[in-house]
Subunit: 299 residues, 2 copies
């Protein structure tokens, strides 16, 4: 057997990446309550909001109110997505502990999603990185489409490695590799990670897998076996897939935790408390959690 | 990376293990139609029914009618579960190409499920194995609870290896290792398989994982990396978990196929045709498939 990390850090992206892709727009108070329940469960890194144009992402328009209403506690990093200086300033004013920028590993996706080339998108993020450095705020870099693109299909692992290493050079302390459309499978995951690891150390990488085709845990297992120890996930599997209606979104934090617990890997997260957060948000959205573990344990 | 089998044989257990655990009792014609659609999709091994007491498993009471109504074709093995001589004779009369016996790796489960010890259960199956040998019918052996028991919790991998090797000695040509309650995780799977592989060659092993906690594909990936090349699964993830209401049952054939396709492993199965079978049975049961792939691709 490969050797696995003894400890894994889970980055909870449900309140942002998850809720952003839910059809229902929730009140800031509900989102803040969700963040607090996730903190109760032991999550130390919680993506709390996004400071992007409300025209583009109406679900996140009140991120400042969410930041204002959470019961902040020590030792937890509440982060925010910041596509530009305006977003960065708003995130800083709201008290975000960390900010994130996002690029794509696919040219077509970059063009269709943010209307510029990959290179241009990185250049646009440069001032955010500089301002964050001046403000002493850590910057995380997201790379989307690392295992497939809705427009291009397969993505060259070298392309992923290039974008990831450029973000590292720009000052990101961690690069989160996103299988945005969930089409990755284990061998593809291994090949992609092998290419990225040649340029970026494992300690500065996270994986962010969507479970659209049910492959996320198998892929995560491969990533763990290759030394990755930071995993993004969303409680209750929040968020759908904008490219396949009715399909699932982020891999569920409960399902990831179940696997890690079973493998004897420490996370500091309580399944019991996590299920309370899962039940809270699922009840609010009036649907069953998109987590097999939650459905089995809450039944 | 480990080396994986170039080819995998999927044993479709939906019409038996799946439908047996669904609350709705379907007509024989519907079950036969499902079997035919699975054959259309390229599945070569289809568990078609069970010849057990209708008192115990009312859903399978009409297995002879199902066998009578399927459109048999060459190169496909239609199998049946046969707990005793009476069942064996009925299966033989119905024209089953293969029969299966089932034991548990957990003493408590054996006692509560079939009311005798593991050793006694194996002795009871001996005449079935002998009769099958005389009739030239292959016998498959199922071992349940290989990664956990609802009464005992963890199961000693040596116990699994012992039961598996005893079934092999009794004349089973293949042993299917079942994670009946779906609590297995990747490292546990590896440890269990390591113990079994010391006594039973990989070529005579199959894995049968339930996806109750979403772990099945990660566990299957581990099994593939250890040389296992036969996988049991159920179209549309048919079958619930009798120990956790509302929880999922067998791993979905679609999800397994998606992973194998992505890994470049040959199965001879058409995803497109498989989705027709998935849609047919899900529509009949008036619910969404318990398969992420089906939900994404049929959306």
């Amino acid at each position: 057997m490969s050797s696995f990390p003894e400890q894994v850090s889970i980055v909870e992206v449900g309140p942002r990446d998850g809720l952003q892709n839910e059809a229902v727009k929730l009140d800031a108070a509900v989102k803040a309550m969700l963040v607090d329940k996730l903190a109760d469960a032991g999550l130390k890194r919680i993506e709390t909001g996004s400071f992007v144009s409300p025209k583009w992402v109406p679900q996140m328009a009140d991120s400042d109110a969410v930041f204002a209403q959470i019961k902040r506690r020590d030792g937890i990093s509440y982060s925010a997505l910041t596509p530009n200086m305006r977003g960065f300033e708003a995130a800083q004013a709201a008290g975000a502990d960390e900010v994130a920028i996002f690029g794509a590993a696919s040219e077509s996706f970059s063009q269709k999603n943010i209307n510029c080339s990959i290179q241009e998108s990185l250049e646009r993020f440069a001032p955010v990185c500089e301002a964050a450095r001046a403000a002493n705020l850590p910057v995380r870099g997201y790379v989307s489409c690392v295992l497939g693109c809705p427009y291009e299909g397969d993505i060259d692992p070298q392309q992923v490695a290039d974008v990831a290493s450029k973000m590292l050079e720009m000052g990101c302390y961690e690069i989160s590799l996103g299988d945005t459309i969930g089409t990755g499978t284990p061998v593809k995951t291994a090949n992609m990670l092998q290419a990225v690891l040649a340029k970026v150390p494992a300690k500065q990488l996270a994986v962010h897998f969507h479970d659209t085709y049910g492959q996320a845990l198998a892929n995560l297992y491969v990533a763990l076996s290759m030394g990755i120890s930071v995993i993004d996930s969303a409680v209750a599997g929040l968020g759908g897939c904008p490219y396949a209606k009715g399909a699932s979104g982020n891999v569920a934090t409960e399902d990831v935790l179940y696997m890690l617990n079973g493998m004897g890997i420490t996370t500091g997260i309580s399944m019991e408390s996590l299920l309370l957060a899962s039940k809270y948000i699922s009840d609010t959205l009036q649907r069953k959690p998109a987590s097999k573990v939650a459905n089995a344990l809450l039944s």
